[in-house]
Symmetry: D2
């Protein structure tokens, strides 16, 4: 163990950090102005400008796994690679990106494209890659991931009801999806859709994933779903009806019945990304809170000298630092012993990071008074965004369940301690 | 003590409850549709229709204090009265109104008009009443209360910087206010403005309150402040610049330097109203949570059978019931021993009610999955609304301070226990 | 509803309070000295002196239900009654008793005798009453209640394994009990024992309760169980082996298979008593905390001026007052609509009161520094005592479960909202 | 950064762990039996046996800093060294020791000796070392640290009142100390005493530390202080009166007025030790909780399948892992950049570790039912022990204050945001 970052680990982190401070942060007012004027569901010019700049600087597709990560043949994917950061290295960059809402996109590192690109990378055919991965990696198009459904508890993915039925050379898709994030963007051209190809198969082999062009007939975007009043335009979270949508049979990913397998593989790195961005958001909130508390007075002294705020700031610093260490450890384990071995750690950060951030952002809101709940400091929006992360990709409760089950498995009860219900009296006598 | 409600206490509660269930709840979809179409800053027709109906039924101005509350001369205020409910009776009605966002207005019982009407009632001259209180009580106009300022920690009201300067027969107002709720409504015609008439006076005698027509020259509404992403149109929370606004000297309330005194008197009943509405909002969230948890399955059983939800629902029930009892006790004390004697209780519910409701609404959001953070169940909006109440009329911290100081005063330290810092060695030997 | 206590309600509260302040509190040092010297499992003389004094003053057996409580024939129980306080009136007395650990016993109102006396009162035969209830009501003997067992999760009382087998005119008892509180006291002469008479009957009709003299052959007190490090001598919490203990068949209470029914009836009032004493303990801790914080300085000002303590004291005051109101409401409901109707409220206070008190006592410990964890201020002992109440008579989790189930029953899901797992696709289409 | 432990890091951890599992854990019943029989303030034979074994195996004085830690001249201290573990390496060992209460002492690594030995090591003269450090390092004697006083808020060390006055070749000590841990042990021969040599000097230069033989005239051990009823014999926490205690002037450490400086240096490594032992205690509690929950059934299924326990176990695993990472990071920083640079991290773990452990141990108590609060599972004792750590070496509040102040210093307010109270109107216009 060594808690000092190496030069290489700092290299990318610092490049990202510097780029953000020099180019992205100064562009925030422009972004806001462009976002708010006219139609809200449009491309925001300053983002495209910043993307070009970041791409030119080589700070691009940083999330793409290094060549030797064991998931693909080196030759085959030669063209589809980023600068080869480890999960740990990328995690440190993701934190920086999390400080400003749209920063990830500037580096072509924003969800759900990152997860989708990984899916293409690992499971896509050469043809699928050429068609979709290339423009995604170039930042020319965007993508969506259609899994959650409004009518069932999607936290248990076996509940999913969307049907993907084979008819000749095609699949026909019928279902209703919601929280399809990013599908509001005019650049969004393709979606990965999770559905069931065989309702009679074993619980975890009924599901498949297919590639669906967003402009296919029968893809009806019903509405956008606001998050605490925010529409998150132009990204958006859409409700989409899929009505007899026909796609070529070659759009199947990996094979029928392998949807769960892909879902598992997709989630690991994405959770690191999300959680590290969450940590960045928490740091940003803490910084704002500290500044604000030092800038105002009440009852005869600066507010930051009231000890109730000392407690909250101390707690924030402790919680952020601990959560970061846990995330980085999870990332390092993924690099060194694989996603599977890091399973408990990945579930742990999924629960920990958003809950931690929500408390800190809420305290920061309180520190800002009325300004905190408005849009002036970005805190209410940050809160709303983080709140979704206690639900997205499985609610807290599902992950707590996984963590606990792994823990229980480590500690079998002492044989002498096992008791039985009253029906089994013989055993205890 | 007797915890059973009397018939009279139930009478008004049930009238309000029945009216809401029969007329207001069914109108919610119409309200939403009218609110969302076209200009957002307009009168919503269905509200006016419901107001007419409620007024006709005599369920109107219920908050107005009974004639013998000791604050005014019976003769003088003869015309300006409601049906004479006690604070306790009204509190029970307010809870019902809190279940649906716009229900209070239907009964002409919504903030900030209620507090403003009380101010007119207690402190207004006959002329001031004729001009403003009459149309307010008729539900013809609405009003605003301009106290909080963006540039200072307004939690400490002595920080207020707005200037009210006498020039001949007029006062000239200069300042900047924000969180002026309701000032976005086209029906809003008058504001009570808190400012300083004498920066050199004692700390609590520098402030005065004046009546300011909203259409006066120099009243510039700068923008509306969203709460999280909600604009709360047509009510709105406005930022207002006051630039050389001239009002007649007769618009002074009670007298120069008596602003604090009015502020104190204004707040008591209003806090009961707010807190009881908050309890209604919490009940509504709990009901939605229970329904939802019973309607979905995950991992082989209905979600409500997972014991983590049993814990949360039990906690919600306990917290709501306790908070209600504390609010009703505070209301009863106000009725029987006066606002001053209930001071600690009023501060207690001010801290307790919104924090309680926020936790329950947040759990309800979690129970609803993605639907919870959207607008489909009203929960995210309820959360945003309650979150402002930890800040409005003084943040939690200020009220906790008051409660604690009253508590400390009850328990003087044991004389033998007082120690002194090291400089006072003589005393301890 | 009326939150002002009546004269009659204050009458008994004040008599108890005055007696405690005049006689019990001044005797605390004597109690401690007598308790600590010599054998710990002995009668403490000052308690007997105070009992005589309280009995003489008529402040005695206050917990005994009033004659017309509907549970018994008036003629039959004529001799076995106290001064006839309602549950609400007694609750207010119980709070006062809770301020000092041994005060309840002074008034012959301490657990488990109170619950046991109620059982005799309601379910005992005239002979059983003459033999045991009379000396218990006279304060001549004490009693125990043997329910919990070390080998099973006794939170689910159907797990109980103690056997009560009929042999001719006798019952033979075999089993192992623990947490038999009070069985360490030399005055403890009788126990109510819960066991199973029919392992083959329905789940809730297997259990019976019998009366067992503590000096019967086969009653082996194995050891006392400390609570944290406190032995609670001479009361004590004992582990008891019951080995072929023979009792006359007439010692059966109410009838075979009715143990659950008795257990239900026994618990209601006892929970009020416990919870109100808990509130008294919390008030005592809050008072000590306030005194201490005002008596010391750190970092240039009295500690009570640090706002983190303002928050804690405010929270304590809010929580105590809310919990008290909920307890009093539950008591009032028991008086007016019966134990059954108050079932949810009783479960609520069972969860709420000890958790509330533990937090306050813990804060008080923190306020006292090292002194807090020692025996100097009684806080660590109070904490240990309250901690057991999250387990005794059913752990928190069991009561939360009951509360939640009653809540869910109030809110059936909207028919349109019920969904089904994927196997039931037909239903949702 | 690298989260994988190196072989060297595992080497000592595993040696300690194996020794504990092979020798210490099996000796727990013997320890308990010897501890409880006869006089409680005596040497416990099995500890001495285990010490001999550990010393023979070279697992001894592991805490002693490596030779090149910059705090001492290599030649001078040649004889006074351990095997040279880094703070990080030792931290991993300390966690293992924390699993069993007396394990630290077996390796001659228990407080307060460790901190005292470090003080001798860094600040002692050759004579002082020969006299005291040698027998301490040999495990022949033990020591105490006398700082906290009953009469002042010792959290603010400037409050200390003990006087150390020079008279000729001697110092005369007068004062009263408490929580002098370990002073109950018959092997305890020397104490480091903090007192004031100059009440007129600057606040942090009034204090000095001296070496005081415990058998000096005037050292009167008044009593032992129990912790939640536990006497912690033979170690004990003593209250000691110092009445005209005379010691040679050569017993001054480092020089008059340098007490604060020594205190600062002493605390860093000790906090790592304490916190890592705390983590060991938390792991032990979690393990017991998992075992217990899997061994019992209630309401028709094993208790561990109730989701409320899944939440608690998941939270425990997350909190332990995060806290451990923070502690190890702090240790690594001390090794690489020094105690001063790790100041915030050290304060953070001081607050975090015991609070984390207390919650987990409390949950484990709850999982064990009545057994949890007794001595059967060691959980109540663990709770009591950890509770003192929120007070010892400065209460939470003092450390939160330090953390917050360091945090505020990082984030100066935006110049434009600083406002001023109303007296400074000019500045904001």
């Amino acid at each position: 163990m060594d808690f000092q970052p190496t030069e290489r680990q700092l290299y990318w982190r610092d490049r990202v950090k510097d780029f953000i401070e020099q180019h992205v942060r100064p562009a925030v007012p422009t972004y806001k102005a462009q976002d708010e004027e006219g139609d809200r569901w449009k491309v925001i010019p300053v983002v495209e400008e910043l993307k070009a700049k970041a791409k030119g600087a080589g700070i691009w597709n940083l999330f793409m796994p290094p060549r030797n990560d064991g998931h693909h043949h080196v030759e085959e994917t030669y063209e589809f690679e980023g600068p080869g950061l480890t999960n740990l290295e990328y995690a440190m960059c993701a934190e920086e990106m999390g400080r400003i809402g749209f920063a990830s996109e500037v580096f072509n590192c924003s969800a759900p494209d990152t997860g989708n690109m990984e899916v293409f990378h690992r499971y896509g055919t050469r043809e699928q890659k050429d068609q979709w991965l290339t423009p995604l990696m170039n930042g020319e198009i965007r993508s969506a991931f259609l899994m959650t459904e409004p009518d069932v508890a999607s936290s248990d993915a076996t509940n999913i009801e969307c049907r993907i039925e084979r008819e000749g050379d095609e699949y026909v898709i019928n279902g209703r999806k919601w929280w399809s994030s990013g599908a509001g963007d005019p650049r969004c051209k393709v979606a990965i859709v999770m559905g069931k190809t065989d309702f009679g198969a074993q619980r975890h082999q009924q599901q498949s994933m297919v590639l669906m062009p967003l402009d296919a007939d029968g893809v009806n975007i019903i509405r956008h779903l606001p998050v605490f009043g925010y529409d998150d335009a132009p990204h958006g979270h859409m409700e989409i009806e899929l009505k007899d949508v026909r796609i070529p049979a070659t759009n199947m990913l990996l094979g029928e019945g392998r949807g769960f397998e892909i879902a598992q593989g997709r989630l690991g790195p994405g959770r690191i990304h999300h959680c590290m961005r969450t940590i960045g958001a928490a740091e940003e909130a803490l910084e704002k809170m500290c500044r604000r508390l030092q800038s105002r007075e009440a009852f005869g002294k600066p507010i930051y000298k009231h000890s109730v705020w000392e407690e909250r700031v101390a707690r924030a610093r402790i919680d952020i630092d601990m959560t970061r260490l846990l995330c980085l450890k999870a990332a390092d384990m993924m690099d060194k012993v694989g996603n599977k071995a890091a399973k408990q750690e990945i579930a742990m950060i999924k629960v920990q990071a958003p809950n931690m951030a929500l408390r800190i952002i809420d305290d920061a809101i309180q520190a800002h008074g009325g300004g905190g709940v408005s849009n002036d400091y970005g805190l209410a929006k940050a809160y709303a965004g983080q709140r979704t992360l206690r639900l997205a990709d499985g609610p807290d409760e599902v992950h707590a369940r996984s963590i606990a089950r792994m823990e229980f498995a480590k500690h079998a009860p002492d044989p002498g301690e096992v008791s039985f219900s009253s029906g089994d009296m013989g055993a205890t006598r």
